[in-house]
Point group: C2
Chain length 397, copies 2
């Protein structure tokens, strides 16, 4: 493990909590509240409309995009930020389908995050020309990439199991059959080394509130392979993707850069906090993070399996095909997770029976993992999840 990790001193972590849910909502970076205060009081309050120029708001989406580009192996200027991940999925898929007008099949997998599939369904219904969405099991994706596929759209790391697709091999296969490749990096950016340029994919999208610690509802991002940008036809043709937004022309004319994937007025407050949050990555490499993540995850698996035979590993055992999370199947996963949370071990539950634990080496260390495993044992072997209060908790998330 790298000597420089964890960097707990850069975060405000609550006392008495072992937070294994950074794969859902990252923790609060120190200084984020002060930065928000500055944006609200000094910039909005003090500079008002002028702040778009004087406080750098106009440049913020691109600046944040460049910070993210650095973390996913993308060149400067190739990543646009804003909106939500679902919107970015729609933009990427709409543009990709227009690149292959003679094909009608979108290939994803049944482990993809549902919103990606829903957005594809909504888009295909909107176009309404006999498109089909195929969702084989993740392990069957490679052989499902056939010559009728227009677009392969996958999330690299499965949100439930943590199983990781081979971006290089799948992209190569997609290209071999003439399909366009879209990668959703929701559980990859800031978690595993990504070489989006190297794999040659046309598009990548992702969110920033998980491993990038941007805060609840932080903006999403989209990467477009630079050689394609000038041919991309944005379905969501918003004014801030226009080549000259303030010329107020009546006809849409997209910017000659990835900025054409911007849509409306950016959420400055969230972007400023995200910009601040991304500073914690200065001086950290994803290789270090990945090495630490594997060490922590392997340790957690070993400890939990040794202590709790009723929990069945739902993640790949081979760390090379596992993202930065560990999932266990357990019939009583929902109440068990509530009991864990009550005891300060925060993971989450995903239907139907998955207990998820995310590992974020920026602020989680071996001692946290050992403590967490001990508390898991307490809850599972002690059957604490049977207590009435955990059986009746309403299930919102």
């Amino acid at each position: 493990m790298s000597v420089s990790l964890p960097r707990k001193e850069l975060f405000d972590l609550p006392e008495g909590v072992i937070y294994l849910d950074g794969n859902s909502l990252g923790v609060l970076p120190k200084g984020a509240a002060a930065r928000a205060q500055e944006v609200i009081v000094d910039e909005w309050g003090g500079q008002l409309i002028k702040a778009w120029n004087t406080a750098g708001w106009m440049d913020l989406p691109r600046k944040v995009g460049n910070r993210i580009a650095h973390l996913i192996g993308a060149p400067e200027g190739s990543v646009a930020t804003g909106d939500t991940l679902s919107i970015k999925v729609y933009q990427a898929l709409a543009a990709a389908l227009r690149m292959r007008p003679d094909r009608k099949v979108v290939l994803s997998d049944n482990g993809n995050f549902p919103s990606d599939l829903y957005m594809a369904q909504g888009l295909m219904d909107t176009i309404g020309k006999g498109y089909a969405l195929r969702t084989p099991a993740p392990v069957d994706v490679m052989e499902a990439i056939t010559e009728d596929v227009a677009v392969v759209m996958l999330t690299q790391v499965d949100y439930r199991t943590g199983r990781m697709h081979d971006m290089q091999a799948i992209t190569a296969r997609a290209h071999a059959v003439g399909a366009v490749m879209i990668w959703d990096l929701a559980h990859s950016a800031g978690a595993v080394p990504v070489d989006i340029s190297g794999c040659g994919a046309e598009f990548a999208v992702g969110c920033s509130y998980k491993y990038l610690n941007g805060g609840p509802g932080a903006p999403a991002f989209i990467y477009v392979r630079p050689d394609l940008v000038s041919d991309i036809q944005p379905a969501l043709a918003g004014w801030l993707g226009h080549d000259a937004p303030f010329a107020m022309e009546l006809a849409y004319r997209p910017a000659m850069s990835t900025e054409r994937m911007r849509v409306g007025t950016p959420s400055i407050l969230q972007l400023a906090v995200l910009d601040h949050a991304l500073k914690v990555w200065e001086g950290v490499t994803l290789d270090e993070v990945r090495a630490a993540s594997i060490e922590l995850s392997d340790l957690f698996i070993a400890e939990v399996e040794a202590r709790c035979p009723s929990l069945v590993l739902a993640s790949p055992r081979d760390p090379n095909v596992r993202g930065s999370q560990v999932s266990f199947s357990f019939d009583h996963g929902y109440p068990a997770m509530q009991a864990l949370i009550d005891r300060g071990v925060i993971g989450d539950f995903r239907a139907p029976d998955i207990m998820r634990f995310g590992f974020t080496p920026l602020y989680i260390d071996k001692q946290d993992v050992l403590n967490a495993a001990r508390i898991v044992e307490e809850v599972i072997l002690g059957e604490i999840w049977r207590e009435a209060k955990y059986q009746t908790v309403s299930r919102v998330t």
Copy 2:
């Protein structure tokens, strides 16, 4: 004028500034920074993922939607919030076009905010079935509503001139020819009384960073007429518009309420600030605001016209067809506005020659208007805009 306006004590207004740009970015409500601090430190930092339930984040979009509903004459539960206005335009238009599958014409006007037109163009290109966008001059809209029109999509108050469409009459005409009506309330919500239920329009959209003071990039909103909701087919079929987002079903199944117009994870920080900002409307009626706005606008027109004959009124003189802004045409409008801003009178400029001044009676009073008119005179009659520094300022906004 109502005795209760202005309510300057509810806002943090910078010293020495007369802010006539609340129609672009509203001012900072007192307490907004403290609310943001609370969300960041106590909720995100302290409660982490649990805050979706414990801090009410899950309910925030609906709560804010209900506050906005109250201001536009919409019933509880009929307004969904999130995303940007451009996205909401796309959603409304996509749904509206599906309601009239046999018609191919979208009618707007050439005074509409360009992003609305761009989004329509992007949608029509995406559907790709011979749709046409017609953009007559605003005054010619009524007679352009013919039986081939699928959707009439207009912004009630013209962003440049402040000219106001008659919502009631135009909606009635649209319905008479079988067209669907979409109103963009960007310059209406919080500025003029709107009775969206009363006019019977199918959809309305708007933004919250202008007259609603939600801050830069605050979320947008969309209203769907309640009797139609269950038949609306969302083009942007995101997981938070799903009937059971956390069931993680593979197929999209929209919520049985306006919530189906939600898309992805909401920007909690911006929503919380907006929720706070909307509290200033408690106890204020739009009728009071409107009466004060007309008084302030009429006064400004009279004062400026008496002092500066070279400024040509670009807004309707009749306050009944004018929103809450006053625009003047002036060949040297851009440098003149820079000179005004330098002297503490903040309006803005819109191509090609429009000097815009917005009137927000919550925090602008008669003395402000008189002072502003005096400074306008100083800049225009003194030809201060000829100074080299105003001629060379780069034109970003």
